[in-house]
């Protein structure tokens, strides 16, 4: 039952896999995301700049990036500014299209979808969290969270119920009627998380979700992401902070549009590192915490709330 990730096939010196993905009850090990020979260039000819290139062939042409991510994984993509991580993320989120290469989402080739089908994919399959929150201005928190459901054609009462369930999950039920300018950065990002997960998407994409947040809010948001992953949601997260990457089960590093390392920190199946051993995780935190953060330290309570929110979100 051993299975090696396709992404690692072509990479020399691949690091050992701590655990191979298991074939779960949900079905075969079909990756949620498969990216093959993906290239993204700006400009043409000699002036072309490759934001995503992968290794170059003998004549200096990009071979493209290969990557595949399985159901339930929690992947952190790391890299310095200009490494192509945001470009990769925008392509994964169907916000941008690659110059060449294939992107299979849940087995569907995204390149063959038209504009309307892409909007459906963005709406149903992907929950996107941005560094700059990207909430719609002058709109209350609950209306923000309802927005994806409105575009999905969910009826008003059902929409309100599911939006409130998602807000409860991120601990902002009491801020439902607040507008973005009445919320702190951390609260805004939690609203954005609620908005990303309200349609129960297969995967959550987060582009530096904690980049604009203080450590306290960072812990709040990451705790939510940890719990979402623990409940089976695939998470892909971009960051340049090691402290954030510690939460992931797998860390992919990009340098100059090329995957340079791919490390598994925790088994694909099972909870993410922060929930696997909460106390040990907190002790090794790079942040100076006089006391362990409250939310991840209560696995029983959070597991329960995830459970209730799950039924709310998916019902």
């Amino acid at each position: 039952m051993s299975h090696s990730l396709p992404a690692l096939r072509r990479r020399a010196g691949a690091q050992a896999q701590p655990a191979a993905p298991r074939v779960g009850a949900a079905g075969g090990p079909v990756p949620v995301i498969t990216v093959q020979r993906l290239v993204k260039s700006y400009g043409v000819g000699q002036a072309a700049v490759h934001a995503l290139a992968g290794r170059l062939d003998g004549r200096g042409r990009p071979l493209g990036v290969d990557l595949s991510i399985h159901q339930g994984d929690f992947v952190a993509i790391m890299g310095s500014s200009g490494s192509g991580k945001s470009t990769l993320m925008n392509i994964l989120g169907c916000l941008d299209s690659p110059t060449s290469g294939r992107y299979l989402l849940d087995g569907t080739d995204v390149g063959g979808l038209d504009e309307h089908q892409l909007s459906l994919v963005r709406n149903r399959k992907i929950g996107f969290i941005f560094q700059s929150f990207n909430l719609v201005p002058r709109t209350t928190a609950v209306a923000q969270v309802e927005l994806p459901l409105a575009y999905a054609g969910v009826r008003s009462a059902e929409r309100r119920r599911r939006a409130m369930a998602a807000l409860t999950l991120v601990g902002l039920a009491d801020r439902a009627d607040h507008r973005p300018n009445e919320l702190s950065g951390g609260q805004q990002q939690r609203v954005a998380v609620a908005r990303a997960l309200v349609t129960a998407p297969a995967m959550l994409l987060a582009d530096e979700p904690t980049g604009n947040l203080d450590t306290r809010s960072t812990d709040d948001v990451l705790a939510i992401v940890d719990r979402l992953n623990a409940s089976g949601r695939t998470v892909v997260l971009i960051t340049h902070e090691d402290e954030v990457a510690r939460h992931a089960k797998r860390v992919v590093r990009l340098v100059d549009g090329q995957v340079t390392s791919d490390v598994r920190q925790a088994p694909l199946a099972g909870p993410p590192p922060a929930l696997l051993d909460p106390h040990g995780f907190a002790e090794h935190s790079l942040h100076a915490h006089p006391t362990p953060p409250s939310q991840p330290a209560q696995p029983a309570r959070s597991a329960q709330s995830v459970q209730s929110a799950q039924t709310g979100v998916q019902g």
Binding site: C94, N123, R138
Partner: protein, 404 residues
Amino acid sequence: MNPLQTLRFAVGGLAANKVRSGLTMLGILIGVAAVILLLAVGNGSEQAVVDSIDALGTNSLTVTSGTASASSTATTIQPLTVADAKALANTTAAPDIAGVAPEVTTSQTAIYNGVSHSVSSVIGTYPAYFQAANSKVSTGDYFSDDDVLNARKVCVIGSVTASDLFGTASPVGKVITLGGTPFTVVGELATKGTSTSSFNNPDDTVIAPLPTVQNAFTGFGSLSQILVEAKTAADTTNATNEITTLLMGTHGISSASAVDFQVSSQTTLLATRSSSTQTLTVLLGAVAAISLLVGGIGITNIMLVTVTERTREIGIRKAIGAPKSAIMGQFLAESTLLSLIGGALGVITALIGSHFTIVGIKPAVIPASVYGSFAIAVAIGLFFGSYPANRAASLRPIDALRHE
């Protein structure tokens, strides 16, 4: 996305920028109100002309002495006489003529109880005049054929003459002195209304039997004119031909180009006047339509600004799965809502404004202009909003999100 949800988003978008939305609506409001109101003013002046013609009597024809044009070959001009009038009254020779009223006109000063009033037209005529000239008595009665035969000193006076001489008291049965001759007032005419276009006030008049006026003021010579009433408005052409034939007989004229009299109908006069006011209406309407178009361009402008300003928001909405149609629908609904509300307020403004007299004209709202301008305003919103809406909807999510 159901339509209600789209509408809700659109209202939210408009409410976010109340001043801007308000000013854009004002543009459409002024455009729609101008179209309705200016057309109403044009129509009102046209109506006023038609009314004044109606007041004169649409069936009536006026026969005056003199040649019609410079090309006339008439050598001498015979005056119109009572004999001419009697010839016209022959119902076998002129079956389309309902009544004939020979007229003499003068102006005299009327005195009652020391109050003096200069009457602009003192008319001596037959009772048929009242019918032909569309003059109706409001109090008292007309004078009769018997009064004419006996040349009695009785008269019917206009409402302005009555109020000037008698104030609010009833003039019927009172005796006024007209140019030194006493006349008993037997009736007062109903107000015809001051027509701005006629230089003679039709309500400032004294009408008395023809022989009485001839005896007292003008003498028994020629008539000023003969007023002829055709049976119906449609018969005026036939009646005109009959008059021409009969009078050519009495005047001994054989050639139609040598006639020494003119027959004019009120309707020909009116047609000339109303065509000139129609030109005015068209001009006013064109100016108003331009202002409506300018209002429409204002919508495009504001929607373009809105799209640019909200590019990021569009990106966010697309990133969370808004299809192109939803974005398009939202912005189209916003622009249509602007024009719809602006148009509705414009209609209300115009309907209120039409209750006031504008430059001496009572506006008469044309219902078609209300529906038409409102529909055009809404169409303008759709048409001028579709370009910005399409631009917003066609943005790629990543470009929209990166927009600052």
